[in-house]
């Protein structure tokens, strides 16, 4: 046991910089993270970011109002392309959410202490992304005020959902995922709310955070049960996140459309989700740590590790593309092989090659240490991945539906301004929520950061 610990410590010295800057103690963690909210120390740039988000949020409100007044006919959806933007955006957003759960749950189970400074906002990102995602299937139903029909409940029509349909599985998967993500996030916030309650100087803050803290007082008895519950939630979230994107992929894979009906879909979708999510975490973390002077908490080592995960999952995704191409030939099925030629050289071929550029080529520089240690370069690569993963869903949803079996039933899809406004609008919702989160909640888990500072180490029995 001790040799293993020595080995771990030797490793930390030899190749990995620490996960927290030197010279930190309890108070510097409290002040560096908590006082941003308690003393409202926000740069003026906060208003710029929030303003842009809020402006785009209003675009969403307009697009959705017009949609509710006129129905889905204002979108470019048609026969045969009935899914289009609504489902592309749904899959894109929910995929982004998955990195948050991966960071908070899987890395917790694997004892990766570098997760501590990024898990809080990664979880926030998950929740906001799931909110954006969940909206699309609901508004795509055309009568969103009847969305509760999706759930099984006794009703006067004596109708029940079909449990053999992947779309019903999706309702269960996404609603469970949203619920568990919110619980996980909130439970993690409770001890930090208690710290806000105890440290706040204004009465209003003491009251609001006091209520949110639920009366948490850091009792040893409570911590013991809390830690068990938190660990079990992580253990439950881990298979959950895999199941959610697998179920999302079943929406496609269980149908008979060429390009959708493939057994590789579940793992390929899960890898793509983690890939897209890590890109979004980097997109948020890189400007955040500069704006709030948090380079001691979100260190260069964090960026490096996230870049490695992005590279690995990006290669999984690239393998998925290669398998799709190989199977379309190896299956000797004329519809499958036509699907691939259509995807590469058909009317939407530009999207396929742009996708290969963004998801396949743009990440290759991440092999180089110099690229992984440059925040600017990582930000640019993560932007390529954000775009690339959206294009992947566009290619899968649209090109497959445009030209499936009977040429007489083929069609084309062109988005309308309302499609674009709705999509851009959800980015506005996401950005608005992220900026509100930064303003009013601790962006890094303070109670977990305290366990990383040297002050918390027990001399007699190793680490806390």
């Amino acid at each position: 046991m001790s040799t293993m610990q020595n080995k771990v410590q030797a490793n930390q010295v030899s190749w990995s910089p620490p996960v927290i800057g030197a010279g930190h103690d309890f108070e510097s963690v409290n002040a560096g993270i908590g006082d941003i909210v308690l003393q409202q120390r926000h740069p003026d740039g906060w208003w710029v970011g929030f303003g842009i988000g809020f402006l785009l949020l209003n675009v969403l409100m307009m697009a959705v109002t017009w949609l509710f007044m006129n129905g889905t006919g204002i979108w470019g959806v048609n026969n045969p392309v009935g899914w289009a933007f609504a489902i592309i955006n749904f899959v894109w957003w929910i995929g982004i959410g998955h990195a948050g759960t991966l960071i908070s749950a899987i890395l917790l189970l694997l004892n990766q202490d570098w997760r501590t400074s990024i898990n809080r906002f990664a979880e926030a990102m998950t929740i906001f992304a799931v909110m954006c995602a969940g909206m699309f299937p609901v508004i795509h139903t055309g009568r969103p005020w009847l969305a509760f029909w999706l759930f099984p409940y006794p009703n006067s029509m004596e109708l029940w959902p079909n449990f053999r349909s992947p779309l019903v599985w999706d309702v269960f998967a996404v609603s469970t995922y949203a619920t568990v993500s919110i619980l996980f996030w909130f439970v993690g916030l409770v001890p930090d709310f208690a710290m806000f309650r105890d440290r706040a100087s204004s009465k209003a803050m003491q009251k609001i955070y006091g209520v949110l803290a639920l009366g948490w007082r850091g009792s040893t008895l409570h911590w013991d049960r809390y830690e068990t519950a938190y660990l079990l939630l992580a253990g439950l979230s881990t298979p959950l996140v895999v199941s959610v994107h697998s179920v999302v992929s079943f929406d496609f894979a269980i149908s008979l459309i060429p390009g959708w009906h493939a057994t590789i879909f579940p793992p390929y979708f899960v890898a793509g989700a983690v890939y897209a999510g890590f890109a979004m975490v980097l997109t948020i973390a890189i400007p955040l740590r500069v704006a709030y002077d948090m380079k001691d908490f979100i260190t260069d080592r964090h960026l490096d590790l996230m870049a490695r995960v992005m590279l690995a999952t990006g290669l999984f995704v690239g393998y998925g593309y290669a398998t799709e191409a190989f199977m379309s030939w190896y299956s000797a099925n004329s519809f499958e092989s036509f699907m691939m030629t259509n995807r590469m050289g058909g009317p939407s071929g530009w999207a396929y090659w742009l996708l290969i550029l963004c998801n396949g080529l743009a990440i290759q520089p991440l092999w180089l240490k110099s690229v992984r240690s440059s925040a600017v370069a990582l930000f640019i690569v993560s932007m390529f991945v954000n775009v690339g993963m959206w294009l992947e869903r566009y290619v899968i949803v649209v090109t497959s539906l445009q030209h499936d079996y009977m040429p007489s039933a083929w069609g084309m899809y062109y988005p309308t301004v309302w499609d674009i406004m709705t999509f851009v609008g959800t980015i506005g919702l996401f950005v608005t929520l992220i900026f509100l989160f930064i303003r009013f909640l601790p962006v890094i888990s303070m109670f977990e950061m305290r366990t990383l500072v040297p002050e918390s180490e027990l001399k007699e029995g190793g680490h806390h």
Partner: protein, 180 residues
């Protein structure tokens, strides 16, 4: 209030380092006290051991929650497909249980997670708007950077003055009575 010892909630001592805190819990337990609790700004496994906490029931509760969620979800899917709204799809059996696995998995996770969170809060007696420990002004640091122990007045061995002397002898930074 029946007895004079019950007019206070207990006696609290403040510690600066986690080492002193864990050592204090160990000594309090060794001295034969049974009604006491530690307070720290982050979880400390050694503190749970030092305080002699029994195995907590959270894991068992979550297991039961998960089993109920799984059985409930499976019962729902089966009843809906066979009785509530039976649909013959290509002559396939109504009891098509493999297709129920994805939603049943989700209901299992859902109920287990709800049990983990609300069960943990319930056995901790949370949410709670008032607790006597907050009457000690220094206790505001229990969520920030200080460690506290409190021996409660309901302890059969409790005697305010002797407890104060005892806690002061453990290297505490301050000792104070906690008003109830």
């Amino acid at each position: 209030m029946h007895a004079p010892t019950h007019t206070i909630h207990g006696v609290m001592a403040e510690f600066v380092t986690p080492d002193e805190f864990v050592a204090a819990l160990r000594k309090i337990r060794a001295a034969g006290y049974t009604k006491f609790d530690g307070y720290s700004p982050f979880p400390i496994h050694e503190a749970s051991q030092a305080a002699g906490l029994p195995q907590n029931p959270v894991a068992l509760m979550v297991l039961i929650g998960g089993i109920l969620g799984g059985l409930g979800g499976f019962a729902l899917a089966t009843w809906v497909s066979m009785v509530g709204y039976p649909v013959n799809i290509g002559g396939r059996p109504l009891f098509s249980w493999p297709a129920f696995i994805p939603p049943v998995f989700e209901t299992t996770v859902l109920l287990a997670s709800l049990t983990a969170v609300f069960g943990m809060l319930a056995i901790n007696g949370l949410p709670l708007l008032y607790h006597p420990v907050w009457n000690v002004p220094a206790f505001a640091r229990a969520s920030q950077d200080r460690f506290f122990v409190c021996i409660e007045a309901i302890d059969p061995k409790f005697d305010a003055s002797s407890v104060k002397t005892f806690l002061a002898g453990l290297g505490s930074a301050s000792v104070s009575e906690v008003d109830s």
